[in-house]
Symmetry: C2
Subunit: 350 residues, 2 copies
């Protein structure tokens, strides 16, 4: 599969569908590698128990979508990577904080292929480690004044990032409510995805564009890109739970089932199912079966009802909307890479 | 008991030792009441589950030391209450976030005389409510640009507040380590109190002074005041667990014992105790007895060894240092009230 995307010069270039950052077009700074190096340093010099936990949570690093989006958004509007690097690192700290707390909430012992922070260090200390990473997100923002971002832009970014964090929490609470009700409701699912995931992607792009010195229209375009991208990302993520294996994702394949998460593949299957099949789905989500038996049954039902394809089509649609949102930006290497990332988020296998 | 403190005109005024804000000198704006009104509004308009939890956590309000300190510090250097009100409200949100998470960590079901957030809403959702309140702390800071604080000051406050939050987390982790070791170490206790409590008091005063437009020397004086005050506050708080009753404090009297918190009264008793008494203290802290039996035994031992008086003397010393730190500030109603608060924190019975 290949897709035509505009390149930096505005002409059509044929890209292979990406499956990792290794395929990312490399002209300009290697943003993701620079962020990874900074993240590895961030807590490495702190020998305290808190430092040990935070470093463990951050390193080895994950896919670094959020800091990469923040930095590329800054570059796409004419900013410098050095200016926003502490904020990019902070964006990952805030994201990892939510993972650390999520793993407590969901009783997940596995994260990125190894023991989750709560499993390794205990729930109490993991709560504090997550809190510290949230404070570090904001410490990173403040550091951007030292690296060259005018204070007024830092404050605008602060407003965007704190709003995104609040939305993330709203999304988590809404998801928790929906799980209790076992509601097969695509609109409610999309609202959760928008708040829980897309708001933070939006916040990363928006704050990067603000600190990079973008005009209002560029900032709004990148914010919209981030929101669509986040929706595509979350839908693809929820699909991976049913089409990928645990080894690839590095997290428990049955976690969504054990926490009764009403994700789009299951909702789509439920909508297309017969009444007898719906009963099976309800039983799977209501934990009437062992998680592995439920996963097997759902795998089969999702394939039979066409839910996999229906869900993938919705993810693709959001990814395309994300790319279109970039159209009004001037051509640049960063715009190309953001386009590419919109392909990557729905093509990755983990 | 009464104490001579300088008043706004610089002359000595004789105050009665305060036991609540009702006794606070009332010239100038009623900072605490204004903050309370804003806090009651902050989440009241949000009917979501998250809004319900955050409002429950914040209202009825607590003693509001931190927001009062932030606002009075701003006023003491010539700032306006309106400028910093969102940050003052945020300071309480951040503090309440730490209480919500602490109650999960310590398995405390009682807070301010009623069910703690985790007891009422469950651990998972309480973690998210605490996170939201941390994000709201920073949202409040960002709002101060709208209320009249120049962006450069907002960013300096952001740096101070995020640093204070990180120190708070460091203190919690250090305390958790000390509890595991059962170490009777006054220096380690003071380090925990400095990080866990005093850093946040310091951050409130420092950020208020920064946003109020204080000179560097005024900001440093108020930061030092906040740190000494926080130490006095924490030491008095730890004393209250052994000299006050549950009804007054609104939290479980045995919580410190059940969580093996090595607080200064117990450390002082241990230092002054015979070897036989030390064994009793070790048994109490190692949970070899029921919490209520342990509390009775410790009550008795703390009195016999003079630990109550020794601890109160240290709290008084820090409260005096806090007052002295204010000497270099110009006379003002806010400086008087900050002096008064340094009396209040070691005189209160809850």
């Amino acid at each position: 599969m290949s897709t035509v995307l505009p390149d930096a010069a505005g002409a059509g270039t044929r890209y292979e569908t990406p499956s990792s950052y290794a395929d990312l077009p490399r002209y300009g700074p290697d943003v993701t590698a620079t962020v990874a190096t900074e993240l590895e340093r961030r807590w490495a010099g702190d020998p305290s128990f808190l430092g040990t936990m935070c470093h463990y949570a951050l390193v080895p690093t994950g896919k670094l979508f959020r800091p990469t989006l923040l930095a590329e958004s800054a570059l796409a509007v004419g900013g410098e990577l050095d200016w926003v690097l502490p904020a990019a690192v902070g964006a990952e700290c805030g994201h990892v904080a939510s993972l650390v707390h999520d793993d407590i909430i969901d009783h997940d012992d596995l994260r990125r292929g190894r023991a989750s922070v709560q499993h390794k260090f205990g729930i109490g200390d993991a709560i504090v480690a997550g809190d510290a990473l949230i404070f570090d997100l904001f410490a990173g923002l403040a550091e951007c004044r030292e690296t060259g971002v005018p204070p007024d832009r830092v404050v605008s970014a602060l407003a965007a990032v704190s709003r995104a964090g609040l939305d993330l929490c709203r999304g988590q609470c809404l998801e928790s409510e929906l799980s209790r009700d076992l509601r097969f409701d695509a609109d409610a699912y999309l609202m959760v995805a928008k708040l829980k995931t897309a708001a933070y992607f939006r916040g990363a792009c928006e704050s990067g564009a603000i600190m990079g010195g973008g005009q209002a229209s560029d900032i709004e375009a990148l914010a919209a890109y981030g929101e669509y991208l986040g929706l595509a990302f979350q839908i693809h993520d929820d699909l991976l739970a049913y089409v990928s294996d645990q080894e690839a994702t590095g997290k428990s394949a049955t976690s969504d089932l054990e926490n009764a998460r009403m994700t789009l593949p299951v909702i789509k299957a439920y909508q297309a199912a017969t009444e007898a099949e719906r009963q099976i789905i309800r039983d799977c989500m209501a934990k009437s079966l062992t998680p592995l038996d439920a996963l097997d049954l759902l795998h089969d039902l999702l394939r039979r009802t066409g839910a996999i394809e229906a869900t993938a089509a919705i993810a693709l649609d959001y990814a395309q909307k994300a790319r279109y949102a970039l159209d009004c930006l001037p051509p640049s290497a960063s715009r190309d890479r953001l386009c590419w990332i919109a392909e990557l988020v729905i093509a990755r296998d983990h």
